[in-house]
Symmetry: D2
Subunit: 315 residues, 4 copies
Amino acid sequence: MGISVNKQAVYEAAEKLRNWGRWGREDQVGTLNHVTAEDVVAAAALIKRGQSFALGIPLDRNGPQTGLFGGRWNPIHTMLATGTDAAAGRQGKLLYADDAINMPVQAATHWDSLGHIFLDDKMYNGFDARLVDCNGLAKLGIEHARARMVGRGVLLDVARHKGVDYLEDGYGISNDELDKAAKAQNVEIRRGDFVILRTGQLEQRLQSGKWGGYAGGDAPGVKFENCYWCQDKQIAAICSDTWGVEVRPNETTEVNQPWHWVVIPAIGLTMGEMFYLKELAEDCARDKVYEFFFCGPPLVITGGTGSPINPQAIK
Amino acid sequence: MGISVNKQAVYEAAEKLRNWGRWGREDQVGTLNHVTAEDVVAAAALIKRGQSFALGIPLDRNGPQTGLFGGRWNPIHTMLATGTDAAAGRQGKLLYADDAINMPVQAATHWDSLGHIFLDDKMYNGFDARLVDCNGLAKLGIEHARARMVGRGVLLDVARHKGVDYLEDGYGISNDELDKAAKAQNVEIRRGDFVILRTGQLEQRLQSGKWGGYAGGDAPGVKFENCYWCQDKQIAAICSDTWGVEVRPNETTEVNQPWHWVVIPAIGLTMGEMFYLKELAEDCARDKVYEFFFCGPPLVITGGTGSPINPQAIK
Amino acid sequence: MGISVNKQAVYEAAEKLRNWGRWGREDQVGTLNHVTAEDVVAAAALIKRGQSFALGIPLDRNGPQTGLFGGRWNPIHTMLATGTDAAAGRQGKLLYADDAINMPVQAATHWDSLGHIFLDDKMYNGFDARLVDCNGLAKLGIEHARARMVGRGVLLDVARHKGVDYLEDGYGISNDELDKAAKAQNVEIRRGDFVILRTGQLEQRLQSGKWGGYAGGDAPGVKFENCYWCQDKQIAAICSDTWGVEVRPNETTEVNQPWHWVVIPAIGLTMGEMFYLKELAEDCARDKVYEFFFCGPPLVITGGTGSPINPQAIK
Amino acid sequence: MGISVNKQAVYEAAEKLRNWGRWGREDQVGTLNHVTAEDVVAAAALIKRGQSFALGIPLDRNGPQTGLFGGRWNPIHTMLATGTDAAAGRQGKLLYADDAINMPVQAATHWDSLGHIFLDDKMYNGFDARLVDCNGLAKLGIEHARARMVGRGVLLDVARHKGVDYLEDGYGISNDELDKAAKAQNVEIRRGDFVILRTGQLEQRLQSGKWGGYAGGDAPGVKFENCYWCQDKQIAAICSDTWGVEVRPNETTEVNQPWHWVVIPAIGLTMGEMFYLKELAEDCARDKVYEFFFCGPPLVITGGTGSPINPQAIK
């Protein structure tokens, strides 16, 4: 394709690709509309061995947040009642433990809601960005997707396809490469799919024990042109094992995260980030089956820009 | 059955029913072991119409916590970046919204982990309660169930079976009544099932706009004898639309939550609470099908006593 | 005085009373500039008995927040390490307790910073309200007052002056009444004073055990005309034992909190709220001395709209 | 003095120095009892110029917590209402900003309460450590000191006395050195003093822009023998510009923080940490006056192990 990426290209893509009004003036879920009930039934048939893979990373103080982006912190898990209290006789007629968690909704494995990114002062479907204030998202909150994150999942294991453990930071994945990976894996991308890209970056960081710039720094990821691919394929969602799906450093310095500028506010594409793919990818490599039933329900966070999740890929 | 419920009856049941060691000395998931891969494959065949029902209640300040139990609070959702900031020119080359959530893991719809309740100074499988300290659960944390909350779901709509909108607070559901409801609904309870009981209480509270004692006060729910039923049926998990599944006031004042004393630490039974069942139950009443594919993945909260969830019932 | 309070009166007062530029274009502390070094030295001489009164209410789950105003919550205090952990052998070579607190800065006894209230799109000293975004207050944050909350304190015990335990909700205190109370108490209000008004409302709520509408509902307090009094007296700060100093219901429905509209953004007046005055007031009634050394340092919350405090009145 | 520091020496010192029962069986404030009303009156006379120095560091995300000790985090300041919301027309008849803070009470400048450290299973005054559970400190919480942190302050500027900008990590300050510094500064340490030690470490870290091991790593500080000095001098409190007052690495590896083992649970000594001393120390060097009025009220955190503070030194 060979797009020269700059601010103008971003606006052009946003103009060409935008789905505003496509599913009604009040639509809140964008490309999740690509999934039909028939697709869900068909996806169920992919459950052949009864094995579930959990794609969420642990929520704890060892998470990837290191302060690079906007003040996000790693999950803070605090106890409200403990077994040591119980054993010390400090409780009553019920001995129990209790606890709380405090975290940015996008601190670990998560969905972005369609109100997470703005195109100037607009959100997906033309909603005013000012509808997102300190009370949360009056439109496009993640709660609208509460029953929509179910369908056919497809893994595109780009790292394995390239024969490497992980793609290097800054490596841009082209549309052509995605198509070749799909072909090599013998899997077809279809309308309504939850497409999951594996770069290997998350596994490399876990193995090294050092997050480095994982959350907001350089990363492998899709090139800007991928926005056309997503729209063309009519996929339901795109997910990856990186912080932000798209390649960093970005292909332009005129805007930050150019692909995001288009896919969320213009296309209304659901995006999943920091997916843990090790065992799933190994399994797919083993049985050569890169499709599966996908179920990744968000928490019903009213007005949330997203939700922490633990999606299930079931084969 | 007619058990006289007192402290002795609790210890007797715990002794008779305990599954410690049944699945190995290091087992962390208890009755979830009842679910086999074959069960998951069979459950997938229940997806016939491709419709998903979200069973999680909204996570926001209007939740059920009113201070009755142990200092739990309703989810606190705060914004870290907003569209109003973006529109005011206070951001940079990426216009975005971001946010955080702070909540007790059991504040709304949730799983209990097996380390949530102690029997004296022991947890399920004989683990020492003192392994639960301010650093979390060193054993039996919810993270162990990250890929295990998938299988056949069954709704037992006890309220509808009784011909009422909701069961009254204090109404104790007997084992016999559960069996009759199942029979009337033409559904069989099988080994490895995720059994979901509907009392109507949650819907009644939402409709009235007043939570009252929902979170910790009186409620309809299963009688103490239900611990025998769960063990006998070899179910994977029991869930309900109430705060704590069992009837309140309890059948004894010698202990608080006698059924809990047995099912979690002795049996190792997974428990789901505050499930939102309105649409699912209406659908089941309509098509007379009370079984479905169930997928309710917990967040991977390391050492958590449970997890907020949004389980999916898919028909 | 007899002001007819409406939106126009608010704007008129704001115009007449505004101190923008009075202490320089970059001034961040407003009326705290009224306090001179000599005033602090003179105030020190008021320490005659060596007794300190703590004016902060406890920070815990029993606080006044009941959801009436903007989603504030009572302080959430959670333990990070406990003596029960230590006793259970779960710690190492240092046995200790540790904890955290999470609270709106204005949830209990606190200072408002000058960036807490806007007059249309302006703050005190003419700063743009948009300088207050999700990153905090770029101007007028409470940190600027870190060394300025020291001087002469004066208690005006209006309730005692009126011969009642507490003023009724809705009771408006006139300027004339303040002057009479001061005269009766034989205390003069001077330039640079920290003036503390006692209505008795806080004590009444503590005694009754019911906060009711304390945090955001009806209350006794100063009439709108008080903004003229504060400016005329050149006081450093005004404080009270109520949630918001001014009378509620307000004297107009055209704006919410008309006195606030003027005193914070126009005058640049520092305001203290929810001061606990019981013992101090009893002591003043006993020794007839209504002046004292005042020291109420805010926490240095960068960009904060205020700070929780525990001010000291020292006699 | 030359103590050989090991576990036995710690227990010996604890035995010799303990003040249990000295101020009554229910005493909750320990050495703060050394301060008399006369001392406060006398201290007031030290206010000669009317200048206040704020000794608290900023509470924000740039604080010293880097994960070295027990999971403490830097203050998280989040907005609940903003000027950008107001300007965007998202508010009502009151335009305002609001915010919240979430922090470990000991994350920045703070007091330790007497229940912060245990000697085996005991706290100061012989209270059982198990009285500190997930509900907080049933005894010795910081709330007991709410009106007690007022008196004569003395700065011992050890770094300046030694002619260096800052003492090196690992440098142990002897009792003799403290006495010499006091003598050189022409200031006497008296019963009831709030003694503040300056090592220069905090300033060095702020200047370098790198906290490194400030919060839990190596540091200059008092030698173990200092516990005898504190008891002998009958001071009210000891404070410093370091994370933990005592030298690190400690003089023994048999226990962690040996001086803490004695001063808090045995002596009942109040301790202040991370005090910001730059301007105060410069001023003292200039006018040669190292004594001042000290007022450092804690927040009234019910059952808190301490409190964030912004103490005032007033000259």
